[in-house]
């Protein structure tokens, strides 16, 4: 296929240095596009490669991807507006997290990005009022399964997911950025206090807090699913805002190690490289476990990170009970 590397690093190389794409042959393009789609990064890639002299069929596919990403952002930003309208009577600003924040604030990390659910952060004390306002404005529970609901309420850092009955879009209401059971407890109150206004009634976390959240989402509670997109977010945030004050902020939330790893890995994938620990290499193997057909590869690595993510999120006894309940109620 002309390219020695054929896992996620092929996509990373093109995002880091778009000019590399000019050397791709048809097979190389085919693998790159399938990989970018599987990692939900085809809009980002299409924007990075905009302006290059590309083969006609590739140019057409990437132009469609840019139009699709743009339309996706219109829908995502409309969810922000409708949430703002629903919560305005409570006098509660909408503090945006992740993709919605990047797009709403026009950050580099949001350019061409596909945005899934709307994630917002609300004070713990106001979560019931926010829940009531959203239900009144047409959102409904996605999973009316009692077990998940009780589990969410008690241990998770967010309400069970809600979906809007007409627009079919999901909203996740967080009151902190890590599950309550995780050993690390970030300072949710200061996340809100330091948040930055980006429009009337709409705010985002302070840049360093955004980086801390991105790292927490990846390493402290996640199984690194969507890791390539998440690390691209980290890369863009570091490029746009730098890392001044980041280490102190990360330490304040008890996420120093996770943030340092996120910065190292994003530099390794998309930046100028970094000295990596053995653990970093394992994470990179998991994040780039994707082939030219868009298939998830390296099943053993993936399983290891899946178990690790649950381990991080809950103490052993609860993990056993959770997996047992899930296994028993799983429809076969």
């Amino acid at each position: 296929m002309g390219r020695a590397v054929s896992d996620g690093r092929l996509l990373a190389r093109m995002l880091r240095t778009p000019g590399n794409a000019l050397a791709l042959d048809a097979a190389g393009w085919t693998a790159l596009l399938a990989m970018a789609r599987a990692e939900q990064m085809i809009g980002t890639l299409a924007l990075r490669l905009d302006g290059l002299a590309l083969p006609d069929d590739v140019a057409r596919i990437l132009a469609d991807a840019r139009a699709s990403a743009a339309q996706g952002q219109v829908a995502a930003l409309w969810e922000v507006e409708m949430a703002r309208r629903a919560l305005a009577p409570l006098g509660e600003p909408v503090v945006l997290l992740k993709g919605s924040a990047f797009a709403a604030a026009g950050l580099r990390a949001g350019e061409g990005r596909s945005i899934g659910d709307l994630d917002i952060l609300v004070p713990w004390a106001r979560i019931d009022a926010v829940e009531a306002a959203l239900l009144a404005a047409g959102w409904e529970w996605v999973k009316p399964n009692a077990y998940d609901d009780a589990y969410y309420r008690q241990w998770m850092h967010e309400l069970p997911p809600l979906i809007h009955r007409d627009r079919d879009r999901m909203i996740d209401v967080h009151h902190t950025i890590l599950p309550l059971t995780a050993r690390i407890t970030p300072d949710a109150a200061s996340l809100l206090v330091n948040s930055v206004a980006i429009g009337p009634g709409v705010r985002m976390l302070a840049p360093s807090d955004m980086l801390v959240h991105a790292a927490a989402h990846l390493f402290a509670d996640g199984d690194l699913a969507g890791g390539m997109r998440n690390l691209w977010d980290v890369h863009c945030l570091v490029e746009q805002f730098g890392t001044a004050g980041l280490a102190e902020r990360a330490a304040h939330h008890g996420l120093g190690a996770a943030v340092a790893r996120a910065v190292r890995l994003s530099a390794a994938l998309y930046g100028d490289g970094a000295a990596l620990t053995p653990g970093d290499h394992a994470c990179l193997r998991r994040v780039t476990a994707r082939d030219g057909w868009g298939r998830a590869t390296r099943p053993v690595t993936r399983l290891a990170f899946y178990v690790r993510s649950h381990w991080l999120r809950m103490p052993p006894l609860m993990l056993a009970r959770h997996l047992w309940t899930k296994w028993r109620t799983k429809p076969d």
Partner: protein, 134 residues
């Protein structure tokens, strides 16, 4: 939807008569929103078992609630429709009724249109894809 200008014109110099407007009883829906097709969320896929709306059989009449009934059913109206022109915002926003229809006929037609919209858009395509569900 007739253009207001057209009406006044052909009725000569008489004072402009105010157009009738029905607010509709409660429950008489006046907005039909086109829902996005299968959103990326798996949740919406699970809810995709949507009844197929009855095909628009040419001969049927439309009952008051918008359902299709055999032709000639009491209280039902023959389907009717004519494309109209005019697109600037103020004129376009001037509502109206299907030409040659009564208010009841228009309301029955509105309900009929609303019924067509059961479920997400694009679902006839998925029904046809008939992806066997696990």
């Amino acid at each position: 939807m007739s253009e207001k200008g057209e009406h006044e014109g052909n009725r000569g110099p008489a004072t402009t008569r105010r157009r009738a407007l029905m607010l509709g009883a409660t429950g008489a829906v006046a907005v039909v929103s086109i829902r996005p097709a299968l959103a990326q969320t798996a949740a919406s896929v699970a809810h995709c078992e949507i009844p197929v709306p009855d095909p628009g059989r040419a001969g049927s009449y439309i009952a008051a609630d918008g359902s299709l009934v055999p032709p000639g059913t009491a209280g039902a109206f023959p389907p009717v429709g004519k494309p109209l022109k005019g697109e600037d915002v103020k004129v376009a926003l001037s509502g109206g009724q299907l030409p040659g229809t009564t208010a009841d006929q228009s309301r029955a037609y509105t309900n009929y249109i609303r019924r067509l919209q059961s479920g997400t858009s694009g679902f006839t395509c998925f029904a046809s894809l008939q992806m066997p569900r696990g």
